[in-house]
C-alpha cells in the first residue's frame, strides 16, 4: 500500500472511531441539521410515494375488476371503472371520517399528523410524519391510529417533521397484558418480516400461560412509555418455551397503510400502570 493511502486509512479509522464516540446531544444536532436541509424534499417525496402505492393498489384493484367485468356486457366496462374509482374515494372518505371520529372519541389529547414517508430505512420500521416540535411533539410520545397503538416518536425536529418507530420494529418495546388473564409481558416487533403482514412477539409470559387465539392485547402503562389500556392487537398463537411462553400477536392497526396518525401529548388521563394492575 502506498504511504499516502496508509495515512488516509489511519486517519479515516481515527475520525470514524471519533464519530462513534459522539454524545447523544451531538448526534441530535447533526440529525437536526440534516433534517432541516431535507424537510422540503420529504414533503415532496411523499407525493411520489403515495402515487406508487396507489398505482400498485390500482393494479390489484383492476385485476379484481377484470374478473367481474368478464361476467357482464362490454357496455358496462367504462361504468364499472368509474364505479371502482368511486368506491376508492368512498373508502378514503370513510377512512378520514373514522379518523375524525377517533379524534373526537378518544379521551386523550391528541395531535393529528399525516404520514409523509414510509419505511425510509431498510432494517427499521419507521415512518415520517408531518408534525414536529412546533406542534408540541417530542421524543417518546405515543402514536395511535384508528384501531390502536402505532408506535412511539423516536425524534422530532423544529422543521415540523418527526420520525415514528412502529410497534412492528424490534426496538419498540411495549409493556402489555393479555385481557382476561394475569399474563403480562414485553411486546416487540420481529426482524425480517418483509412482504407480509407483520406479527408481533410477546415475551416473558408465564409457562403454560392460559391464553387463546383471539384474546386482546393491551398496554399496561408501566415503564413510563405508553399509557394504559391501549389496544395493541390480538393473540394469534402461543409459543411454548422451556422456561417461559411467548405469543404471536397480530397488530390491531394496518401498519402498512398508515395515512393519518395521532400523537398523544402529555395530558393523558392516567400515566401509571395502576389501572392494569387493578384488573389482575
Amino acid at each position: 500500500m502506498k504511504p499516502l493511502n496508509l495515512i488516509a486509512l489511519l486517519l479515516f479509522l481515527g475520525v470514524g472511531t471519533w464519530v462513534l464516540t459522539w454524545s447523544p446531544h451531538t448526534v441530535r444536532e447533526v440529525q437536526f441539521t440534516y433534517y432541516k436541509a431535507i424537510t422540503p424534499f420529504l414533503h415532496g417525496g411523499s407525493g411520489i410515494d403515495n402515487f406508487a402505492r396507489a398505482f400498485v393498489k390500482e393494479v390489484e384493484h383492476s385485476k379484481t375488476l377484470e374478473r367481474k367485468l368478464q361476467a357482464i356486457q362490454e357496455n358496462y366496462e367504462g361504468l364499472k371503472i368509474i364505479e371502482g374509482r368511486f368506491l376508492e374515494m368512498e373508502r378514503e372518505n370513510a377512512q378520514l371520517n373514522r379518523a375524525l371520529d377517533f379524534r373526537e372519541r378518544t379521551p386523550f389529547k391528541v395531535i393529528p399528523a399525516k404520514v409523509i414517508k414510509r419505511q425510509p430505512s431498510a432494517w427499521w420500521d419507521t415512518v415520517t410524519i408531518n408534525r414536529g416540535e412546533p406542534a408540541g411533539i417530542g421524543p417518546q410520545l405515543t402514536v395511535l391510529a384508528e384501531g390502536g397503538l402505532v408506535g412511539r416518536v423516536d425524534k422530532s425536529f423544529d422543521t415540523d417533521v418527526a420520525e415514528v418507530v412502529l410497534v412492528s420494529d424490534e426496538s419498540c418495546q411495549v409493556s402489555v397484558y393479555i385481557e382476561g388473564t394475569p399474563e403480562k409481558g414485553i411486546l416487540s416487533g420481529q426482524p425480517g418480516q418483509f412482504g407480509g403482514d407483520p406479527l408481533l412477539r410477546v415475551r416473558y409470559l408465564s409457562k403454560n400461560a392460559a391464553i387463546q387465539p383471539g384474546m386482546r392485547v393491551l398496554t399496561t402503562g408501566s415503564g413510563r412509555l405508553f399509557p394504559p389500556d391501549i389496544m395493541v392487537g390480538t393473540v394469534v398463537r402461543r409459543i411454548p418455551g422451556s422456561y417461559e411462553d411467548e405469543a404471536l400477536v397480530k397488530p390491531s392497526v394496518d401498519l402498512h397503510n398508515l395515512n393519518v396518525v395521532f400523537v398523544l401529548t402529555g395530558d393523558q388521563p392516567n400515566e401509571t400502570g395502576d389501572k392494569a394492575e387493578d384488573k389482575e
Binding site: 470514524g16 464519530v19 448526534v27 431535507i38 411520489i48 414485553i186 418483509f194 415503564g223
Partner: protein, 198 residues
Amino acid sequence: MIRYFFSVLGLLLLTFILRQFVPVIPNLYEARIFLVPLVFLCASVTLDVSGMLLLAFLTGLLWDAQHTLTPMHQEGVDMLVYPEPAETLKFGYSIFLFAIAGFVMQGVQPIFKEGKWQISALVTAVALFLYLFLELMLLFFIRGHFALTTNTLKFIFYSSGISMLFSPLVFLILFRLAKAFRYRIRYDGLRKQKRPLH
C-alpha cells in the same frame, strides 16, 4: 482530481434529496433502489483510496443522520419494566460499512480502468449485497440473536439487483463529470491499439 471529487460530492448530496422520492416496491419484498449507496459505490471505483475514504466518511455521516434510532435507555425509560431494551446501531457505524464496500469496488478498479465498466456494474450489486448483509449481521450481533429469514435475503437480493440496473446511468453521469472537470478515469484499454503497419 479535487474538482471532480467535489462534483461527485455534489452528485451524492443530490442523491440524498432524490432518495426521498424513491418509493419501496411493496410487491417485491419491499425492495427498493438504494440510490445513495449506488452512487457511492460507482464513484468509489473512479476515485483513489483517499478520495474513496473521504467519500465513505461523508456518505456514512449523512446516512446515519437519517437512519439511526435513539436507544430506549437514553430516554428515561423504566429499566425494571424493560429489562432488555433492544440495542440500536451507534451513530457512525455505516462510515465503516461504506468504506468496506468501497474497498470491494477498488478491487475491480484495474478492470474498470481498462474500460470494462460492465464488470464494475455487476460488482456494485455484490458490494451492495455485502453492505446490507453486513449491516444486518451487525444488528443481529448487537441484539444478541440471529434471525435471518428467506424474506430478508430476498429483500437484500432484489434491492441489490434493482439498484444495479441503474449503475450504467450513474457511470454515465460520472464519465460526464470527469470529462467536464478534466479528470482522467479511464486511461487505457478504451481505444483499440492500432497495430503498426509493417
